[in-house]
C-alpha cells in the first residue's frame, strides 16, 4: 500500500488581511467539488494585519493523513511581492515547482531573474491579481482572483470548481465579483502561458 497519494502540495504566502488563509480554504473546497480529498490550514502567528502569513493546501485522490506543514511545496502562491525581499518564501521549493506571484511586474523586474532560471519557464507566472481584483471588487483583495491564475498555471483544478468554491464561501454579490476576477485572471494566465510556450 502506498503512502498517501500526495498529488499536490500548495503553499500560499501573504500578509495578514490579504485572505491568505481563505485562499487555501478555497483551493480545498474546489478540490472537494471535484470529488477529491483536500486539506487546508494556516501556519499561526500572532494575528495582526500586515504580518507575514503562510497557509497550506494538500490535494490528493486518497485520504490525507498527515497534518504537518508543507516543507516542500509543489506549488507556491505569493500574494504579496514585498515578501520576496525578506522572508525565505522559496524554502523547500524544488525546480519543478509551480510559482505564481501576484504582481504586474515580471520576475526579472521583481529581482528574481536569477532565481527564476532555476525553475521551468512554463511553471512560472506573475499576474496583477490585485489590480484585477480592484476593478471587480473595489478593493485590491487578490486571493480569489489569483486562484483563477492558479487553475490555468497548474491545471490541478478546473476554473468552474474554483468559481463554485468562491460562490460557496462568499454568498451573493461578493461571490460573483470574486468569481469574475478569478475568470479574468484565468484568461490572462492562459494568454501569458501560451506566449511562453510559443516563445
Amino acid at each position: 500500500m502506498e503512502g498517501t497519494a500526495r498529488e499536490l502540495e500548495v503553499r500560499v504566502h501573504g500578509r495578514g488581511g490579504q485572505g491568505v488563509v481563505t485562499a487555501a480554504e478555497l483551493l480545498s473546497i474546489a478540490a472537494f467539488e471535484e470529488g477529491r480529498h483536500a486539506q487546508a490550514f494556516p501556519s499561526f502567528g500572532s494575528e495582526r494585519t500586515g504580518a507575514p502569513v503562510v497557509s497550506f493546501c494538500r490535494i490528493a485522490d486518497a485520504p490525507i493523513r498527515t497534518h504537518e506543514p508543507i516543507a516542500e511545496p509543489d506549488a507556491l502562491i505569493v500574494q504579496d511581492p514585498t515578501l520576496l525581499r525578506g522572508d525565505d518564501v522559496f524554502a523547500g521549493v524544488g525546480p519543478d515547482a509551480y510559482v505564481l506571484v501576484n504582481s504586474g511586474r515580471g520576475f526579472e523586474e521583481l529581482g528574481l531573474g536569477e532565481l527564476a532560471r532555476g525553475f521551468r519557464d512554463e511553471r512560472l507566472l506573475a499576474v496583477p491579481a490585485s489590480e484585477i481584483a480592484r476593478r471587480h471588487l473595489g478593493r485590491p483583495l487578490p486571493n480569489a482572483a489569483l486562484l483563477g491564475a492558479f487553475a490555468a498555471l497548474t491545471g490541478a483544478l478546473r476554473l468552474d470548481s474554483i468559481e463554485a468554491a468562491i460562490r460557496e464561501r462568499f454568498p451573493g454579490d461578493g461571490g460573483e465579483r470574486n468569481a469574475a476576477a478569478a475568470q479574468e485572471c484565468f484568461a490572462l494566465a492562459q494568454r501569458r502561458l501560451s506566449e511562453v510556450a510559443h516563445a
Binding site: M1, E2, G3, T4, A24, E25, S28, I29, A31, F32, H37, A38, Q39, A40, F41, P42, F44, P63, I64, R65, T66, H67, E68, P69, A71
Partner: protein, 406 residues
C-alpha cells in the same frame, strides 16, 4: 453529509446535534471557533432549547456546567491550556460529583513561556482528575468522538474530555462526514441523570466526607474509570454499526501485528507516523504504529496485547514531565510490565513544533538500529541549550551577581 469544512465548525455542529441544554463559552485560542460556531447555532434557533452562557472565566465555565448538569441538563464547554488549568479545581469537582459533562480540549502548550500552539501538556497535566480522556487522530474522529463522549459520559456518570490538537486539527479544513440530526438522535438518547437537583425529590449533593468514607468514594471513581474500559469499546462498536465507519475505541493498531518496531502515540501526529510507516514498509522495515485513543482510563491490557510481538517500542510524546521524562511512556512501561521490550521515549512537537515525516523516518531508523537513547528530544537545538546551560553554570545562582566569572 460529506463536507469540506473546518474542524472546529464540524465539531460545533456535531455538538449542537447532541442537544446540549447548557453551553458555556469562555474564549481561548485555539478553541474559539467552536464556541463561536455554537453561539451562531443557538442564536439562529438551530440548537434549541439551549442556554448559551458567556462566562467570565474557564473556572466559571465548568462551574456553570456543574450546576447545570446537577440540575439535569446536558452540559458542554470547551477549553485548552491555561484555561484547563484555571478550571482544575472544578475538573476534580465534576468527576467527584459524577457529572457527565463533555468538554473539548483543543490541546495546547502550557506557559510559562506563553505559547499558543499544539502539544498535549494541558490534558496531560490533568490526567488524574478523574475525567475520561479521548484523543482524536483527525477531524472525522474528533467529530465522532464527541457523539461517543456524551454516550460514554451519561452511561458511566463521568465527565469526558475529547482532545483534539489545537490549530492542527481545529483550524484545518478537511473532508468530514458531518452527521445529520436524525443520525445523532438515533445514536444518542436524551439525558437521564443518575441523581438530580429537583424539589420534587430533594437530595444533598457535595457533602463533607471524612476519613471514614473518603477512600471508598475514591475507589468507586477508580472503579468507574475501569468500567469505562468496557464502555468505550462498546460505544465505539455501536457507533461503527450506526455510522458505518470505525472511530474511537481504546487503541487502533496500524500494521502493528507483525511489526518489530511499534510507534505509540496520541493525536494527529499519527497521520504522519502512518505515512512514515508505509514508506519504511516499502523498504522492508517491519514497523507499525499503535494509536492510543483512550488515555484515561489507560487501556493497559489492550496496549500490552497489541505490543506482544514487538521487539521495541517508540513512544512519541507531545508532552514532557520535567525531571521525569515522558508521560504516556510511563503508562506504556507499566502496561508492559516485564515484557522483554526496549521502550524509547521521544519527546517531540512541544509548543507546536512541526513533526516532519523526514525527521520521523530518521528517528525510526535509529530506533531500528538500536541507536536511540531511552529518552530523546526530537529536533532539539542542542547547541542552543548547551550554550544556555553553560552560561548559567558560569553565573551560578539565579542572577548575574555573585560568582559570575570571566
Amino acid at each position: 453529509m460529506l463536507r469540506q469544512v473546518e474542524g472546529s465548525a464540524a465539531v460545533a455542529e456535531t455538538v449542537a446535534r447532541c442537544r446540549p441544554e447548557v453551553v458555556c463559552a469562555y474564549p481561548i485560542s485555539p478553541q474559539t471557533h467552536i464556541v463561536e460556531g455554537l453561539s451562531d447555532l443557538v442564536r439562529d434557533g438551530t440548537l434549541a432549547p439551549c442556554e448559551y452562557v458567556t462566562v467570565e472565566s474557564e473556572f466559571a465555565a465548568l462551574s456553570v456546567c456543574i450546576g447545570a448538569s446537577a440540575a439535569g441538563a446536558r452540559a458542554y464547554t470547551a477549553t485548552a491550556s491555561q484555561g484547563l488549568l484555571f478550571m482544575a479545581e472544578a475538573l476534580y469537582n465534576a468527576s467527584g460529583l459524577g457529572l457527565p459533562i463533555v468538554m473539548t480540549v483543543t490541546n495546547r502548550a502550557i506557559g510559562a513561556p506563553i505559547n499558543i500552539w499544539n502539544d498535549h501538556s494541558d490534558a496531560m497535566s490533568q490526567r488524574d482528575c478523574g475525567w475520561v480522556q479521548l484523543y482524536a487522530a483527525d477531524n472525522q474522529e474528533a467529530v465522532d468522538l464527541h457523539m461517543q463522549a456524551f454516550r460514554i459520559a451519561e452511561r458511566l456518570s463521568l465527565p469526558v474530555m475529547v482532545c483534539m490538537d489545537g490549530f492542527v486539527l481545529t483550524h484545518a479544513y478537511e473532508r468530514i462526514d458531518v452527521p445529520s440530526a436524525e443520525q445523532v438522535d438515533a445514536f444518542l438518547p436524551p439525558f437521564e441523570p443518575r441523581q438530580v437537583l429537583d424539589p420534587a425529590a430533594p437530595v444533598t449533593i457535595g457533602a463533607l466526607v471524612g476519613p471514614e468514607a473518603f477512600a471508598e468514594v475514591r475507589y468507586l471513581s477508580h472503579a468507574r474509570q475501569m468500567q469505562a474500559l468496557e464502555a468505550i469499546p462498546d460505544v465505539a462498536d455501536e457507533f461503527a454499526r450506526v455510522f458505518d465507519r470505525p472511530s474511537g475505541g481504546l487503541v487502533h493498531g496500524y500494521r502493528a501485528d507483525d511489526a518489530e518496531t511499534v510507534v505509540v502515540a496520541l493525536g494527529s501526529v499519527l497521520g504522519t507516523i502512518e505515512e512514515a510507516v508505509d514508506a519504511m514498509r516499502e523498504e522492508g522495515v517491519r514497523i507499525g504504529a499503535l494509536a492510543v485513543k483512550s488515555f484515561r482510563p489507560f487501556p493497559a491490557r489492550t496496549v500490552r496485547a497489541a505490543l506482544r510481538r514487538a521487539k521495541r517500542v517508540v513512544v512519541l510524546e507531545r508532552a514532557l514531565a520535567p525531571g521525569a521524562g515522558g508521560v504516556l511512556s510511563s503508562d506504556v512501561r507499566v502496561a508492559l510490565k516485564e515484557a522483554p521490550l526496549d521502550v524509547h521515549t521521544v519527546v517531540a512537537g512541544l509548543g507546536g513544533r512541526p513533526i516532519g515525516g523526514e525527521s520521523l523516518r530518521r528517528l525510526f531508523a535509529d530506533a531500528g538500529a538500536g541507536r536511540l537513547e531511552p529518552l530523546t528530544f526530537l529536533d532539539l537545538d542542542r547547541e542552543r541549550v548547551e550554550a544556555e546551560l553553560g552560561a548559567t553554570a558560569l553565573n551560578g545562582g539565579s542572577g548575574t551577581t555573585v560568582g559570575s566569572g570571566a
